[in-house]
């Protein structure tokens, strides 16, 4: 369904753009329908840049992003673009920054509805979406972003997905700013999306624990390249690349204590 081929992004730096910072270095991978894939990497690994390219927010320096057989950078008309973004949607890390602070939060839902081509039953659909994510319409609608908690804001963002029913959601660190006790609830919503509507999810995260818990496949990124790929068990029990091995060795686990400290 989604295919990334040799995707590269180089940021020009220096006078006349001679020197370049290679953020993403020729990566390729696929995501099938209904799959949950995690792109794991530390800050600076290029994972967020990759996400922005898949979301068609950032043009690649070279390489293609193919969605359902079509190169997304061939899409030009507004209609085509809107259709793409209805089917490939995003959840961002900072639930506060995802809202324009001077408008009421209802706006994000209206924005999503407009992607579906304005419908008469939009009010009802919005109510249903809110209930699906465990938010009561009365406690959320009509408020400003700073009046809601981080967990509520993130749920509201996910409610957009329940409205749009996209084929693919790119979630960039969706729970890193949520309290420990709230994470499980948010993750469950993603799993529900997949069960109900067959939505595939790409999780962008630094948290290998999250990736292990929820993905079918894990891709480990380091300095712009994919260094490891496989099922969670395979990546954790039999890591091939030295970077992955070091990453795993330094993760604190509940079941054992580090011996070497």
């Amino acid at each position: 369904m989604l295919e990334v081929r040799n995707l590269t992004k180089v940021y020009a730096a220096g006078l006349l753009g001679r020197r370049g910072v290679v953020a993403v270095d020729g990566i390729s991978f696929t995501v099938e329908e209904g799959e949950i894939v995690s792109l794991v990497g530390e800050s600076g690994s290029g994972k967020t840049t990759t996400a922005h390219m898949i979301l068609r927010l950032l043009p690649p320096t070279s390489g293609q992003v193919m969605f359902e057989g079509q190169n997304i950078w061939d899409l030009r008309t507004k209609k085509d673009l809107k259709r793409y973004w209805q089917r490939v949607h995003a959840i961002f890390q900072d639930p506060y920054a995802a809202f324009n602070p001077i408008y009421k939060v209802d706006r994000v839902l209206y924005q999503a509805v407009s992607l579906m081509g304005n419908r008469e039953d939009s009010e009802r659909l919005m109510q249903e979406a809110l209930e699906a994510v465990g938010l009561r319409p009365e406690e959320v609608l009509g408020r400003y972003p700073h009046q809601l908690s981080g967990g509520q804001r993130q749920r509201l963002m996910i409610a957009r997905c329940y409205l749009l029913k996209p084929k693919l959601v790119v979630a960039d660190e969706p729970v890193s700013m949520v309290d420990a006790s709230g994470k499980a609830g948010i993750l469950k919503l993603f799993l529900e999306l997949r069960d109900l509507y067959g939505t595939a999810v790409i999780f962008i995260t630094h948290d290998l624990g999250l990736a292990y818990y929820i993905s079918h496949r894990i891709l480990v990124m380091h300095k712009g390249k994919i260094v490891e790929e496989g099922t969670p068990e395979k990546v954790l029990d039999a890591p091939q690349h030295p970077y992955t091995r070091k990453l795993i060795a330094d993760i604190p686990l509940i079941s054992r204590r580090w011996e070497d400290i």
Binding site: K82, A90, D94, A97, F99, N100, I102, V108, S114, L115
Partner: protein, 271 residues
Amino acid sequence: MTNTRLIISSVIFLAVLLFGLVGRWVYPIDPISRVGGRLQPPSRQFPLGTDVQGRDVLAQLIHGTGTSLAIGVTAAGIAITIAVLIGVISGYRGGLIDELLMASANIVLTFPAILLLLAVSVFVPVRSPMVVAILIGFTSWPGPARAIRSQIMSLKEREFVFLSRMAGWSDTRIALVDLLPNMMAYVFTSSVVVMSAAMLAEAGLTMIGVGVTKGTSLGVMLFWAQMSDAVRRGLYWLFIPPGGVLTIACASLLLLATALDQFFNPRLRER
């Protein structure tokens, strides 16, 4: 929310405004015709005395204040409008357009305005207040433009802008609906500061002869005060009133600017 600073500065500025706009009906003496002897000190007949051409200084002050304020408002309006247009386009588009616009801003910024005005003064000997206001406006936009540009550049990386882009919104719509309202704080504060600067600029330019040559303004009063060698001769009523009103007006505007800053940015409020 009571903000002492806001109240005090607004009240003072309002007083200056009323003085300049409404004063002429309370004291309906013509500022440009000769009404008495030359260089008379303040008396009961002429509360602020007369100038070198026998004109009533108080009348001049009233009309001059009104004119200077008008110049300030016009210049600020022009400068901020240009600054917003250029700042938003430059900041949001980036790339070549950004480079070109910022290069032109730099040129305007570093080009000595005095030279420009001297040149203008040669070709346009009779300059009304509006002409001067336009000139000041067209040379004051780079500073605010740059500040607006950098705010836009950081705002456009915020996730809510991504979401608007992914809803298929055009750049113009995003700039108007998403970005600009978030910058109102800066635009307001900036307008007030530019207005204050414009009034001071007019006074300075006119005083040296390259500013207003037609009509009355605070600068014109100072020009004639200087022509009459007022400081050395102790003719205080010629320069203290215009200087004083100018100072009060500008100081209250700047105070207002800091009060607005506090208003828009809760973190700056005193606890």
